[in-house]
Assembly symmetry: C2
Homo-oligomer: 257 residues x 2
């Protein structure tokens, strides 16, 4: 199915589930929507923290069509949105047209689905995918570089790999600098401030044995975490796992060495 | 002399001339200062047009110290500033402390002095430098990607090189992606909308003969040009040739292949 068709099925509430695995080789993106008065601080935060917040498109206020997705409508083409008000979760909804504001600026942010596909294509299995689970995500002690009202620590996603595959996985993911790039850490979770690896802050824990190494990537949940600290009056994001599907191919973001 | 000392001599009005050649291997930067209400549009313009507008630092409103330059004061450490009001040139001054506003956001933008040094270090002479002239700059038909109130065409700088040196010069300058990177054009000026090469829009013309090829780089004057189109009530820039000297070494921006 074409990406455009999938977006239409989402818009028509035919597809209402998570988007993992439904878009073939197409890039999926994280969503952050903010009133324009916060847009400079957030874009500067993204520029200063490119690994957790790799912006792939900014849709200016007054617009809701992504140039990366033909005929798209950012207000309806994601299966599930989260709305936050003054730093608190307000509602989950499948359509934000009714609450859309003229001054909203939309940020589309790269997603690890892109490098996961490249790892799978190299014949390396990814445990949480095989187990049909969500990836495990953790708050760390890795501080972001603050910008304006935005500050806080980096959220990471964790994927365990056999010791002899770790170097290859690092190399593959480094080829996607605009999709979180190479890992921020591999090895002991305590070194980046994770006290109990079995209790992720988001998602589900993936067990690993002593022949495997936990590898950690900067995660697109970081901006959500940081935005909630800043408590703007309204923010819209995608619901984790329910992403925006673009017309771009994953390969477009691959920098072959 | 240390960069810090040079900045102090500039602040004390001991050094009042252009900054070309006075900072050794230190990075020099273009300056753009705008009220915060324009900062999102300008940062987005820079993100979308990285070749002409490679931002190396953003100093947030309320601040005037660059983290790239110890003990600096962005209001006094440039020998000559240009102030524009409502899109028109207003005054040239050596100190903007008196007109500084709490809501000013400062952008430091990469400068071709960095890649020129690398070309010279490779033993390739640069004609306008040998002749003690300012580089020739031209408006082109290469459109920038608009952002908010900012739009317009790219300004380029031109340097002629012997035919058999062009490939090497291209390669060297491509190693500095945050300092305008490789050229946008080499050869016939008319292909990028320059009708009369002997009449630059800024700077001074450098003659060349038929064994030489004119090579064109995206230029840090582009943002000044675009800002004037947008007519914000006040903008401060450096005067061309009178740059901000940082503590960074040119090599810090070199991506060796």
């Amino acid at each position: 199915m074409e990406a455009k068709e999938i977006r239409e099925r989402i818009r028509m509430k035919v597809h209402t589930g998570p988007t993992s695995g439904i878009s073939g080789d197409k890039v999926q993106a994280n969503l952050v929507v903010l009133p324009k008065k916060y847009a400079f601080d957030f874009l500067l935060f993204a520029v200063r923290n490119k690994k957790p917040v790799p912006v792939i498109e900014v849709i200016e206020s007054g617009e809701y069509v992504s140039t990366l997705a033909e005929g798209s409508d950012i207000r309806t083409d994601i299966p599930k949105y989260h709305v936050y008000k003054n730093g608190e979760f307000s509602e989950e909804t499948d359509d934000v047209s009714e609450i859309w504001q003229e001054d909203f600026v939309t940020f589309l942010i790269g997603c690890s689905f892109t490098f996961e596909q490249a790892v799978l294509d190299a014949g390396i299995p990814i445990k949480h995918i095989d187990q049909g689970r969500n990836v495990a995500m953790y708050k760390t002690n890795i501080e972001t570089v603050p910008a304006g009202i935005f500050n806080g620590s980096t959220v990471v996603s964790m994927r365990p790999f056999p010791k002899d595959k770790v170097e290859q996985v690092i190399r593959i993911t480094e080829e996607f600098p605009d999709m979180h790039g190479g890992p921020v850490h591999a090895g002991a979770p305590s070194e980046i401030g994770i006290d109990d690896i079995s209790k992720p802050d988001y998602g589900e824990f993936t067990e690993y044995n002593e022949d495997e190494v936990p590898v950690f990537w900067a995660c697109g949940v970081t901006p959500q975490n940081v935005i909630l600290n800043a408590k703007p009056e309204i923010v819209i994001t995608h619901a984790p796992g329910y992403m925006f599907i673009t017309d771009l191919n994953n390969e477009a973001f691959q920098n072959k060495q």
